[in-house]
């Protein structure tokens, strides 16, 4: 099969990935922000997986969390609000040699970009998507988000949020994503493990990470923090079947604080990347040549 999705690799040995080689700009996040934990976890995963640095692509939309590509030294893109997933789809589908990781917030993922989440997941495009959900719009200084609970006081709801929050895990399971996990910025080793498993998944993998906003919603996830009277329970995968979607929905429907870990993980679904490659192979089997000029010439001949 002839494909342009696998260009000849660059002929240089990749430098090993270390804390130093992965360091880029100093994060501009506020002190105490939960987003630092996501960056640290991602860097740890990269150090562990040792994917060639030039084949890593870190993408994001708009928001505090979406600044992450500037803070990690990989090829990166800072796209427009809510549309990072379709942009990443082009990168992923166009290039089999790249590892594409998208970071974004609850606004990007569940509000302005909600439609894209559905379809990128449904198509099972090979992308890892990390949603850094702080339940508030922080970059624009405290407005209500789709995951803000009823009663949450913000600049757009000064007397408290009126509209029910969406349930992120039910939402993600409903999209058809083939890997869905839940993590918390206050539990770094677990978060690191979730991102690593997501990146190893062949298809669309999504990790919902609760990351508190130190300035505008610091107490949001105290209920997961044992030092503040909350609890952090992880899923026992000897008891939970990660291929059982109904079981995953039951976990997602638990009362707050619920449980953390891999809710759903199926490996028998081909990615869109693989399906498109299959289409290329089938289509090309019908023609004697893969020489582009000859193919185009025969198309012209049919129009004579």
């Amino acid at each position: 099969m002839f494909t342009l999705t696998r260009p000849a690799p660059a002929a240089v040995p990749a430098a090993p990935l270390t804390k130093t080689t992965l360091k880029a700009d100093n994060p501009t996040w506020c002190p105490g922000c939960g987003d630092f934990a996501v960056l640290a976890a991602f860097q740890r995963v990269l150090e562990k997986l040792q994917i060639p640095q030039h084949n890593l692509v870190t993408l994001a939309g708009i928001g505090c969390s979406s600044r992450l590509p500037y803070f990690v030294n990989t090829h990166g893109g800072h796209f427009i609000h809510g549309r990072a997933l379709p942009f990443a789809s082009g990168v992923s589908l166009g290039r089999d040699d790249l590892h594409v990781v998208v970071f974004g917030g609850d606004g990007d993922g569940f509000s302005i970009g909600g439609n894209h989440l559905d379809h990128t997941a449904r198509k099972n495009i090979k992308i890892t998507y990390v949603i850094m959900d702080n339940s508030v719009y922080g970059l624009t200084k405290k407005q209500t988000s789709p995951t803000s609970p009823v009663g949450f006081k913000s600049k757009t709801d000064p007397t408290g949020a009126l509209d029910p929050a969406l349930n992120p895990m039910r939402r993600l399971l409903g999209t058809g994503a083939t890997f869905v996990a839940r993590a918390y910025a206050g539990q770094l080793p677990h978060l690191t493990d979730m991102i690593e498993r997501a990146m190893k998944h062949d298809g669309f993998s999504v990790v919902e990470v609760h990351t508190h906003c130190a300035n505008f919603y610091d107490e949001a996830f105290d209920c997961f923090n044992s030092r503040k009277g909350g609890k952090f329970d992880t899923i026992d995968e000897t008891k939970h079947d990660v291929t059982d979607l109904n079981a995953a929905f039951r976990l997602a429907s638990m009362e707050t604080p619920g449980v953390f870990g891999v809710f759903y993980d199926v490996k028998d679904q081909p990615s869109k990347n693989a399906r498109e490659a299959g289409l290329m192979e089938r289509v090309q089997a019908n023609f004697k040549t893969t020489d582009g000029r000859a193919l185009l010439q025969s198309a012209f001949n049919r129009m004579k």
């Binding site: 090829h75 379709p86 942009f87 789809s89 589908l93 439609n115 582009g292």
Partner: protein, 606 residues
């Protein structure tokens, strides 16, 4: 206006004495499910295959099935510039088809009507009416097995008889179209065709449709026949475009359908996205990944793509956007033509956002505009908009086959390691982003961004930097203007009126210019293809005429000038620029342009 009629050369191969004609306009009027587009397609391809010039014109209803539809074919041995104002032959499938189009038939023209369904006005002596049992004849030919399906082939048989068309070539085209489905379907259509061909038509309306010699300028290359959307697809492929994404929208969908089918053959893909925004975002993702990509759409979709277009301009990504214009605003007239997206194309999206805009002026030029768009997007690292329109997208024309030996571009991604610090946005030269997969030997990997950035691409909100970067983005587009070929004027190089147009109106304006010159007026014609940047030298050309009349299918707006006229007036500050505008959803007729010039002249005298 040349129409079918006696000509000087003699016929040779005709079995009956006929007349050699220069060109003929055939209008087929029916409903959308009558298959009249297929007849038009056969006739257009027959003409193209005979090295004749051909142009078609189609209106289709926005409804799923049913509703009046027309297809007009004009073919001949001279240079065919427009679909023709009036027809020589009207084929009426239904009473309403007859009623709606009878006035459009020229004096002495032939009405061919279905005698099963149409009752023409017997008192009308202006035209010659000929009836044929189109419905019952079709049913009889198939033994009733397919009801009246195949009426279009019956009509094709009648037309072949009337104009003494090359039956073997026509059957060859039918074989190509139906033979793939099954031998039975092909044979059934041949039975219908033969029945109609054998139907005795009034002898004195039979005119041999034997063209004079093919155009001398045809050259060595054979003719190819296709519509504007197909030509865009061919141009993109020839230009090395292998990836893209779109969302279905009339009248642009056939571009995505054809690319979806074609690109996997060439090792690429065309993705159907969840919406227009996702489509341009995915295309930008392909471009960032190193493949110069395309997205195609029409008005409403173009509006949705605007924010991402701005990102492409800010991050300086190569991208091709094809906008097949239709009537607007909003849902507007989905199946009718308008040239009202020009201002959007040159300025749409917030901020100062210069980009390249090309408007193809014919079906053949759709190929070259799409091809050039790919080259320009690559060279200037900027989104390039190809501004086509509904008329050109559905029109079938024959044009000389492009020379692939010279033109064909084989795409390839270069992942050559980059040494040291790379300035993807150097103030002083046109540069390109580094596609992922490229090792950065200096150790620093770039992030492409929609934020204002410095020369390395790093976010930078300082005032002097934004000023300098705004200049950079502007100057690189101005650099293209300096390289564009000088605009060519047809006809008088100075004088009374310069007719200026853009896009699909080329042929009608050219014919109007010819007619005005034949009346003794000093008239030139200039079709502007590069809408942004405009080519240099326009002011000098415009200064040589008393009036510059800009013909375009859009409204004169709040200040009395159409969209291109407004642009030209603001860019050149020339007060002799005037506007001839209309927005009735149809292409210009030559007569309407002439009337527009007369109207402007009259008001200038007052």
């Amino acid at each position: 206006m040349p129409t079918a009629g006696p000509a000087s050369s003699t016929t040779t191969s005709n079995q009956h004495s006929g007349q050699t004609v220069r060109d003929v306009v055939i209008r087929l009027a029916g409903n959308s499910q009558d298959g009249i587009q297929a007849i038009g397609g056969f006739l257009a391809r027959l003409a193209g295959r005979s090295d004749q010039d051909v142009m078609t014109f189609m209106t289709i209803p926005a409804t799923i099935a049913g509703g009046p539809s027309i297809f007009q074919v004009r073919m001949g041995s001279g240079e065919i510039l427009s679909p023709g104002d009036r027809s020589d032959l009207l084929v009426a499938f239904h009473q309403h088809s007859y009623e709606a189009h009878r006035a459009q038939l020229r004096d002495g023209g032939v009405l061919l009507y279905d005698s099963d369904t149409v009752k023409p006005d017997a008192a009308d002596t202006r035209i010659r009416a000929v009836g044929a049992p189109i419905t019952s004849g079709t049913v009889a030919a198939t033994g009733g097995s397919a009801k009246d399906k195949g009426k279009n082939i019956y009509v094709l048989g009648l037309i072949a008889r009337l104009f003494d068309l090359n039956v073997e070539k026509l059957k060859g085209l039918m074989k190509e179209r139906f033979g793939k489905k099954s031998e039975d379907i092909f044979n059934q259509n041949v039975r219908i065709f033969n029945a109609a061909y054998a139907h005795p038509l009034d002898n004195d309306v039979r005119s041999a449709f034997e063209f004079g010699p093919a155009r001398v300028s045809t050259g060595a290359r054979p003719m190819v026949t296709m519509d504007g959307n197909q030509a865009i697809v061919m141009g993109l492929v020839a230009g090395g475009v292998r990836f893209g994404a779109a969302y279905p929208i009339t009248p642009a969908s056939s571009i995505m359908e054809d690319l979806r089918a074609a690109l996997p053959k060439y090792g690429g893909m065309y993705v159907q996205c969840e919406d227009e925004i996702a489509a341009i975002a995915t295309a930008l993702g392909f471009s960032y990944a190193g493949h110069v990509a395309v997205t195609n759409t029409s008005g409403p979709g173009m509006s949705l793509k605007m924010e991402a277009l701005g990102w492409g301009i800010m991050a300086e990504m190569p991208l091709i956007i094809v906008n097949v214009q239709r009537g607007g605003p909003s849902t507007g007239l989905p199946t009718m033509v308008e040239q009202s997206d020009l201002i959007q194309a040159i300025g749409g999206t917030h901020g100062d956002a210069p980009r390249i805009v090309l408007a193809p002026y014919s079906v053949g030029d759709c190929f070259y505009a799409a091809y050039e768009a790919a080259q320009l997007a690559r060279e200037y690292s900027v989104p390039v908009i190809v501004l086509s329109d509904q008329a050109i997208s559905t029109r079938i024309e024959a044009f000389q086959e492009p020379d692939l030996a010279k033109l064909y571009v084989e795409p390839a991604i270069q992942l050559k390691p980059v040494e040291g610090e790379y300035k993807a946005y150097a103030f002083d030269k046109a540069t390109h982003h580094v596609p992922p997969g490229t090792p950065m030997l200096g150790g620093k990997y770039p992030t492409v961004t929609g934020l204002e950035h410095d020369e390395t691409g790093h976010p930078n909100a300082s005032a002097p930097n934004h000023q300098k970067m705004t200049i950079r983005r502007r100057e690189k587009i101005k650099a293209l203007a300096a390289k564009l070929p000088a605009p060519e004027v047809f006809g008088d190089q100075e004088g009374d009126v310069l007719l200026v147009g853009w896009g699909s109106t080329y042929g009608q304006i050219r014919e109007a210019a010819k007619m005005l010159r034949s009346q003794g007026r000093k008239v030139g014609h200039l079709q502007i293809r590069n809408i942004s940047p405009l080519p240099k030298g326009l002011a000098e050309i415009f200064a040589k005429y008393r009036h510059v009349d800009v013909v375009e299918i859009n409204d004169e707006g709040l200040y009395g000038y159409g969209q291109l006229a407004s642009l030209l007036r603001s860019a050149l500050a020339i007060p002799t620029i005037r506007s001839i505008c209309k927005t009735d959803g149809l292409t210009f007729k030559v007569q309407e342009i002439l009337a527009g010039v007369s109207r402007l002249d009259a008001s200038a005298k007052r």
